[in-house]
Amino acid sequence: MGNEKRASTGQSIGGFLSRSFVGLFLLLSVGMVVNLWALHQMRERHRQVAASALELTLGRYRLLTAMTDQDTGLRSFLLTGSERGLDPMVRGRDAFTAELQRLDTLGPRIVTPDVREQVERQRIAAQRWMLEAADPLVQARRESAAAANDLAGRLPLAELFEEFRAVNQAFATWIAERRRREAAETDRDAQLLVGAVVALSLLLIVGWAVVLWQLKRRVRRPLATLVAAAEAVRAGKRSIAIDLPYCDEFAVMAASLEAMVSAIRRQEAELNSEMRHRDTILEHMAEGLAVAEPDGRIVLLNPAAIYLLGVDEAPDPHEAAAAVLSRLVACDPHDEPEIGQARVSELGDRSLSIISSPVPAGEGLDLGIVHVIRDVTDLERIDRMKSEFIALVSHELRTPLTSIRGFTELILDGDAGPVSDEVASYLTTVRANTDRLVSLVNDLLDISRIEAGRVTLKMERLELGGLLREAAGMIQPQLSSRRQRLDLRLPGFLPRLYADRDRLIQVVTNLLSNAHKYSPDESAISLSAEWRDGAVRLSVTDQGIGISPENQRRLFTKFFRADEGEVRKVHGTGLGLAISRALVEMHGGHIEVQSRPGGGSTFTVVLPVVFRVDARPSDEPTTRVPSQRVLVVDGDVAAAALVRRYLEQAGYGAQVAATVQEAVDAIRSGPVDAVVLDLLLPRLAGFEVIDRVREQPGGASMPIILASIRGDQALGVRLGVVDVLAKPLSEPHLRLAARGALDDATSRKVLVVGADAATRALVSITLRDDGCEPLPVADLLRGAELARSWGPDAIVLDLSVPGPRGEEVVERLQSDPATRDVPLIVFSPGDRRSLHDLYPLSRADLKTGAEPLDGLIAHVRQALGSAAVAGERR
């Protein structure tokens, strides 16, 4: 909002800081450079001054010396008159001239006009002395000493020399004076330089101060403003405008704070409206909703619930509702199986459906309960009416149908006298159509009951082969009428399944009947079964007219009839497949279709092979000996605690191990009678636990109950555990499994040895179904060891995968006194005779792999029976 304004009126603190830094740095650098340069200059000048003073002093001194030499030479010449006496004078004059020349060459930096003037004065003074006194005297002396004497008295030789000396002295004084003056100047320069440094430092300090002051001004105030704004937001203000003078980082921050607050405001508004929405829904929904904490306290109760539970008069509806609910619903929050199941309770003249679902109330295992309460008084009434209606309709329709059909039959049976062929054929049509009507009524009743959820399956453990043969037998007359052939293809082994026998027959006969209807005369129909991927697949294949892909999609809808002319001729209600599908789905399975027009159809009923505990636990009180200890191995501490609680409630002693090592230690240190193992231990060590447990003394026969996500029994059989429970574990199932595992002492132990995993699994599952305790072992030699240590009641040895040790193991088992009397069933694909030849005297019951597996099971049963007899005799 204020961004643009700020953009035009300011700069960022970062920019300000960097500019300030650069400015101050430049100032410092320039100052330093200037200072250093000045210092250098000063030093240079000082050096020059010193040098020039030296040169000039030297020059003055040499000039003086040269003059003194001349004077000395002159005087000695005047005294002696000897020309040699003039030599010093000549040397002095030369020296003087040379010195003048030298001074002249020193350069303008030393020989300034002042100096030149001084030197000029020397030269002039010297020249005057020379021209006005010395030279005439020399001239005179050369003439005569007297003339020289005479002239000496007139000429101012000494005065001129003194004059020169004075000039020379003045030069020295001048030099000294200048030296002093320059020293003073240097001092002044140095002071100036110090001043400049001081000034620069001051300038920098001031600059820094300005920067800091500015910074403080630009930080403290916006910061205070922002803090105030944040406080306001915290206090609940949801609309803020932060006005900052500059467009800097704080402005950006302020802008995002404003944006954040407006986002919060929006979200809060949404949340509020959502919550109001939800509250409104809760308040106005017809269903009552009550949420209870684990301790039973009601934390949420909507008006409908208050009304439905009849607690609107109560002083504290929540408390009253809790009381009513606990009376109506005895739902243990830790009990899982009741999830989503409605129970109908009578409260006064009202019928209430209460669905109670445990929900995690928070962390850990605390579970609350959500009760959804519905007034189903009307529904119940309507449901009753519907049932009555269906009963009435079925009765009202069936009664006339009974008459029609019955009398038709009477006539056809000849009970009313002889019937002509023509009449018989007409009456047969009447009867056939009556039958259609009857089956339509039956189907209608079926589908309406299924849809109303009024069909309950009578689940029992079924032997599939017999069931399929029965279904085939039922359809046979229909097939014969059109000379169709039914091939029943059953594999050697089929696991038993939990299913409703009558309903399953209904499904299979329906499919067979469809195949019959839509297939040409004299064609073949096959009914086959196989066990694959944990499911039983029952397939009905015909060579009939087939179904187009789009019809396949609609095939299972009610009253669907394919529209092709061919099909229309076939009688049917269009309900059969819908009913079949519903029934199969009630079994947890599904129906697959494979078909193409003209190419026949295959309908496959896929039924999961459900292994589970047969019944809910009986209410008999547990008379558990507490000495039986169960080890719970689970990496999840919370889950382990729950399992432990279940076990302790069931009367077992329970201890928990979280790692493989803890489990092994527990088994070594204390008596452990069974192990409950979660396969999902950290780092997939579940399988390792099984191996390690088996290695422990007594571990080979230790009952292990596996908790697995999939509850896959086949896996359990492969691993040699006594039971596999699906997670999440439920208490009843766990209790039953534990009971089964620990009371197994009476069940027959059968060692299943063989390299082929599938065979081991098959045999083991079948044996378990038979109430035996199978222990599958892959390795033959290990099997031979277990035959001694585990003490099985029978041994099944699968030699179908040929290995070098098969015969060796048979021999070992037969020769060892400990295993000699244990019935041994050898399952071998090989030549029966060869084994017989090998062990003519053994009691081994030899089977060949070509025979179906249930034959083998029969042998095991027989062997166990005889073993029991033998055991009794012993």
Partner: protein
Amino acid sequence: MTRPRVLVVDDEVDIRQLVAIKLRKEGFDVLTAENGRQALETALGEAPDLVLLDIALPDVDGLEVCRRIRARLGARAPRIAFLSARGQESDRAAGLAAGGDDYIVKPFRPAELVVRVRGLLDHGIASGERR
């Protein structure tokens, strides 16, 4: 041996007739009743060997009739088979629970009915002898 006596109870005259005609043809002695009270009177008074009993009767329903016959006659009670249009599992269960020996669902084939009736009577005689 006298002809077996069968009491047919049904409020529908057609059904009564149908059953009666068929059974008479097969050599049974047939009595009929069209409501519960009549059925009870006949069952107690005429001592039939078998009662074919409809459940949906206008006054006293068939289940009740069955219970009363059993209560009054005890071991001397005739065989009782229900003949009902209600074919659900629960209906059969209720019929057998009320003391029925068999439960035949309408619509039935007359020939099949005869087989069932014969079976019931043979069984009844056999078990009656055992008693």
